[in-house]
Amino acid sequence: MTAEKLYETLKKIQEPKGNYFNKDLENMTMPLLEGLLENKKTYGYMVCPCRIASGEYEQDRDIICPCAYREPDMKEYGACFCGLYVTEEWNAAPEEEHEYVPERRPPEKLAF
């Protein structure tokens, strides 16, 4: 699987549901998809590239992409924590209007 193939596959599934890829393909979307593929190799599943995985599927379930926090984060900030998925409005807005998405995952979920 290449990042390009993953992009095409997910785009078809996610965009009709309102989950758009970050339009900054070069600096955001493609490196993030590469990260997902790397994590798939390391852990066996596509855990969020911006979060630390335990390697235990059950413990990492909430941060497997699309993570459990994507929906509330997109609702509140227009983007998910890592910035892979955004709303159509977020993509259309100028960069300075983008708010940094803070970590929503409760610290007690950390398996360390």
Partner: protein, 92 residues
């Protein structure tokens, strides 16, 4: 007061994940501003070392999110790649 503006050499430690885009962008930002830093990639550590590093990050940032940027051993901690906060903290 910004740390760099105080005239003392600043020690910057970036706790990061090798796959994290905000970490990559934060490191790029520091590179572009010629700010030397030490990057610690937690996902490249295994077992006990990883656990130990998580504990270290939690001291500065209980959520253990990335990047966690620690200036001068904890004088200032910037959580996430918040450009304006970093600029202000470093006096850029």
């Amino acid at each position: 007061m910004p740390i760099l503006a105080q005239g003392a050499p600043v020690n910057v430690k970036v706790y990061a994940l090798s796959t994290c885009i905000h970490c990559k962008n934060a490191k790029k930002f520091l590179d572009e501003h010629n700010v030397p830093y030490e990057a610690v990639h937690l996902d490249q550590a295994q077992g006990d070392e990883r656990k130990q590093l998580v504990e270290e990050v939690k001291k500065y940032n209980p959520a253990c999110s990335f990047p966690t940027i620690v200036l001068n051993g904890g004088d200032r901690v910037v959580v996430g790649f918040r450009k304006s906060e970093l600029e202000e903290a470093l006096g850029l």
